[in-house]
């Protein structure tokens, strides 16, 4: 449904509305060079629950296109916003969401005298307050540390067009000849603008940039603001958008995978983030993602408000990792094939951190993993970190390993990780907020040995899968980390199947292996601490113990030596 609203200076604004009346109203303001259709995808996502309003900013789309620079001053644009809010929601404050120049306008309006009591929340995407930007530049010039200079230069380089737009005639010429369109087409998610809109919009830069940046005033707001900062925005640096704590008393910042045009490229992520803020300011509980995004308030732990799913969490490295994440503030969902032990893990985790829960899960059963993912989503939401840890051991000569033993091993160690990446990792990608998949491989993945042919095969596959997937998911902001522990003292040795031996021999071998691991005395907890560090660093491959590190180096430098060692008959 579309209608016209007339602004204070008589310019007509074309306003589009969708969604149920009576629901909270979200007013969406597009940037440059765009029109209200920027929000189409987001509006579709939001319309079932909110009254979604978007309008063509003056100079764009079907709104009036006044001539002259003065008509595009931020003060006037703020009045446009007030006129629209008065028309669509005269009695109830609204929520705002804006992108690029739209965000610049809203910042100006919100921190000025126009919108007192008319706004409950604001989601800003890729558009800073120009006054804040002015202070941002000044602060870096005043204290030119290497980091400040780097930020400054990189922002100036990405803002070259701002200077260009100040020139007379040339910008218009660039649009009319199609040069600007060509340059713009390089960016992600852009649509070619109408030439007249693009030309009109140049006035935004000419009317506002210089006055605001040259004489920035201190502009503050107490309204809840969340900034969605794209990780690969070629125009607005993250720091410029997010380094604003001194101006905003209630600030949340989310750095999201994607480029400048997030509302077009990632509409469901943008809609989800916005609705979390809207629902919270309307009195609902604060979603985990929003809590994590908080930049104001209490001291935070390393993994506060993070949802971590761990398979094989009933013992060993899985359990230790669950406990370590819990201790660092994460909400842990532990799964294992053994109900009792995984419940124990959850119980311990909840003595260290926030709530933890336990689920029975056989990772080799793809259907079961899918069912679990559905449940996980409903009960806990989309995870931020998935740890594919579940694994079993088989040792002994190749020809003594039966087909059934091979199948069981591949089912758990490889298919388990495949299902984990496919289904649980799929949730991360779908969530659009990035995250990390951690696959527990092994030093055996790169250290060949005649003692562990089957196990090494599965772990090499896990390592390879992790590295391929890392390449594929980089664009989605999802990191894939392969962990290669080495000899970590867990119950792996006492549960490994040693083929080619009778029961008594196998028992004795297990005891000897267990003793060996115990004497090595590298605890699962230390391994877990390394895993958390690898997640924070987004390491591609993280060998944990010294032997794993040396082994990795040797595998790269002297693979021939390792092949010679592989012949050694390790007597256990």
């Amino acid at each position: 449904m579309a209608r016209d609203v007339v602004s204070t200076d008589g310019v007509r604004l074309r306003v589009h509305e969708s969604g149920p009346h009576g629901a909270p109203t979200v007013v969406c303001i597009h940037g440059y060079p765009d029109d209200h259709t920027l929000w189409d995808g987001v509006a579709t996502e939001l319309a079932p629950r909110y009254q979604v309003v978007s309008y063509d900013v003056r100079g764009a789309g079907e709104s009036g296109k006044p001539r002259g620079r003065q008509a595009y001053r931020l003060d006037q644009l703020a009045q446009d916003l007030v006129a629209v809010i008065d028309a669509v929601s005269p009695d109830r404050p609204v929520h705002l969401m804006a992108h690029d120049w739209g965000a610049v306008q809203v910042w100006h309006a919100l921190t000025g005298p126009w919108l007192a009591d008319r706004v409950c929340s604001y989601t800003s995407i890729s558009g800073p307050c120009l006054d804040h930007a002015g202070h941002w530049f000044r602060a870096r010039l005043r204290r030119p540390t290497p980091r400040a200079l780097r930020e400054l230069i990189s922002q100036l380089v990405s803002s070259w067009y701002v200077t260009f737009f100040q020139l007379p005639l040339l910008p218009e010429l660039a649009w009319r000849t199609g040069l600007a369109q060509h340059a713009l087409a390089l960016a992600d998610g852009v649509t070619t603008p109408a030439v007249t809109d693009a030309v009109n919009g140049v006035q935004l830069y000419r009317a506002n940039m210089f006055p605001r940046l040259a004489k920035p005033s201190p502009r503050r707001t107490d309204i809840p603001v969340q900034v969605l900062a794209p990780q690969r925005d070629p125009f607005v640096s993250r720091s410029l958008q997010t380094d604003i704590r001194r101006w905003v008393s209630n600030l949340a910042v989310r750095e999201l995978p994607g480029g400048h045009w997030l509302p077009r490229t990632h509409p469901s992520t943008v809609a989800r983030c916005a609705s979390e803020l809207i629902d919270h300011t309307e009195g609902g509980p604060e979603a985990r993602g929003l809590r994590r995004a908080r930049r104001t308030g209490r001291q935070r732990k390393r993994f506060d408000d993070t949802l971590v799913v761990i398979t094989g969490a009933g013992s060993g490295i899985g359990r230790a990792t669950a406990l370590e994440f819990a201790e660092q503030g994460a909400e842990v969902v532990a799964t294992d094939i053994d109900q009792q032990s995984v419940e124990r893990t959850a119980q311990l985790a909840s003595t260290l951190g926030p709530t933890a829960s336990a689920y029975l899960l056989d990772v080799s059963d793809g259907g079961a993993v899918e069912k679990f993912a559905t449940l996980l989503r409903e009960e806990h939401g989309i995870p931020d970190i998935v740890v594919n840890n579940a694994g079993i051991g088989v040792a002994g000569p190749f020809f003594d390993t039966t087909v059934a033993e091979w199948e069981r091993l591949i089912d758990v160690n490889l298919w388990g990780v495949i299902h984990g990446c496919r289904v649980l990792g799929g949730l991360l990608v779908e969530g659009g907020a990035g995250g990390t998949i951690v696959n527990i491989a092994s030093a055996a993945a790169y250290l060949p040995s005649r003692a562990l042919p089957a196990y090494s095969t599965t772990k090499a596959a896990v390592l390879s899968l992790s590295q391929c997937l890392r390449g594929e998911l980089a664009g989605a902001g999802v990191g894939v980390v392969a962990i290669c522990p080495g000899f970590v003292h867990t119950n792996i040795a006492s549960t490994t199947r040693f083929v080619g031996r009778d029961a008594a021999q196998e028992r004795a071998t297990r005891q000897r292996a267990t003793d060996l691991y115990r004497r090595r005395n590298f605890t699962a907890r230390r391994a877990a601490q390394e895993i958390l560090r690898a997640v924070e660093r987004n390491s591609a491959i993280a060998p944990i113990t010294v032997e794993a590190k040396v082994g990795l180096l040797a595998a790269r430098l002297t693979p021939g030596l390792l092949r010679a060692l592989a012949r050694a008959n390790v007597a256990l």
């Binding site: 013992s315 359990r319 406990l323 201790e327 032990s341 124990r344 893990t345 119980q347 311990l348 003595t351 260290l352 119950n491 605890t523």
Partner: protein, 277 residues
């Protein structure tokens, strides 16, 4: 102390009395602990309490461990067992451990407590009950001590904790005790009463000849069922920066059956209370 000296019922009464006294000392001192008190002060209070009540000598001098020292974190040398200037703070766990000798009878007890509340401490204390049941049951079955040690390790790992008794000298979970007969003077060498040490060393030699040990650890020398006599058993488990233990006397009869000397002890009453609640 050795196999030949299975305590008679009158002796058992005396051992029980002394063990009660030692636990009473620990409980009474625990109630006096306040934020800021040091381990040394706590240990001195234990010593004074016991000396006032007729204790003449020590198997080892009283120990007090506060905070992460209850889990022996960062312990490299046995000297670190001795009380330090570490101060107790709110919600901090502590362990009091003393081994008094009176009239030739000996007790060796460990008491875990917490100033204020601590979720990890509560969980550990609740889980500690399992070990008391497991140990007496397995000794009764005639299982070799080495295997029981491993069973305890398995339970620890199942519960998700660390074995902390392996930090004790010799990795011991227990040791035999008995009446002290000695003409040596009463004096203390590195924390141990030399009369008690004399008895222990004597036992070590005698038992070694039988391929047994008065010390109960996970080595091959403990691969025998419990020797009849009295054993001070001290499973010590830890999680993060909290450790808890109990230590009390297990009576093993000449037929190999076993029972705890006394069930009227603070940790047992604690478990009975929570079970009833």
């Amino acid at each position: 102390m050795a196999a030949k000296k299975v305590a008679d019922p009158a002796d058992l009464v005396k051992f029980r009395e002394l063990q009660q006294l030692a636990y009473a000392a620990a409980q009474s001192v625990a109630q006096t602990l306040e934020p800021g008190v040091t381990e040394r002060q706590a240990a001195r209070r234990l010593r004074e309490y016991l000396i006032e009540r007729g204790v003449q000598d020590w198997f080892h001098t009283p120990f007090a461990w506060f905070g992460d020292r209850t889990a022996f974190r960062g312990f490299r040398t046995p000297l670190q067992f001795f009380p330090t200037a570490r101060k107790l703070a709110e919600n901090m766990p502590f362990i009091l451990d003393c081994a008094p000798v009176r009239d030739g009878y000996m007790a060796d007890i460990g008491y875990a407590g917490c100033l204020g509340t601590n979720r990890i401490f509560d969980q550990l204390m609740a889980d500690l009950a399992e070990y008391r049941k497991l140990i007496v049951a397995r000794v009764n079955e005639g299982v070799p001590l080495q295997q029981i040690y491993r069973d305890v390790d398995a339970l620890i790992s199942q519960q998700g904790y660390d074995n902390r008794h392996r930090v004790y000298p010799g990795r011991v979970i227990g040791h035999q005790i008995g009446k002290v007969h000695s003409r040596l003077p009463k004096s203390i060498a590195v924390g141990f009463g030399i009369r008690s040490l004399q008895t222990l060393v004597g036992d070590l030699i005698v038992e070694r000849m039988h391929h047994r040990s008065p010390l109960w650890a996970d080595g091959a020398i403990s691969d025998h069922p419990a020797t009849p006599g009295l054993w001070a058993v001290e499973p010590h488990i830890g999680f993060r920066d909290v450790g808890v233990k109990f230590e009390e006397i297990l009576v093993v009869t000449s037929s190999g059956s076993a029972c705890w000397l006394d069930d009227d002890l603070p940790h047992v009453r604690r478990w009975q209370r929570t079970a009833a609640a």
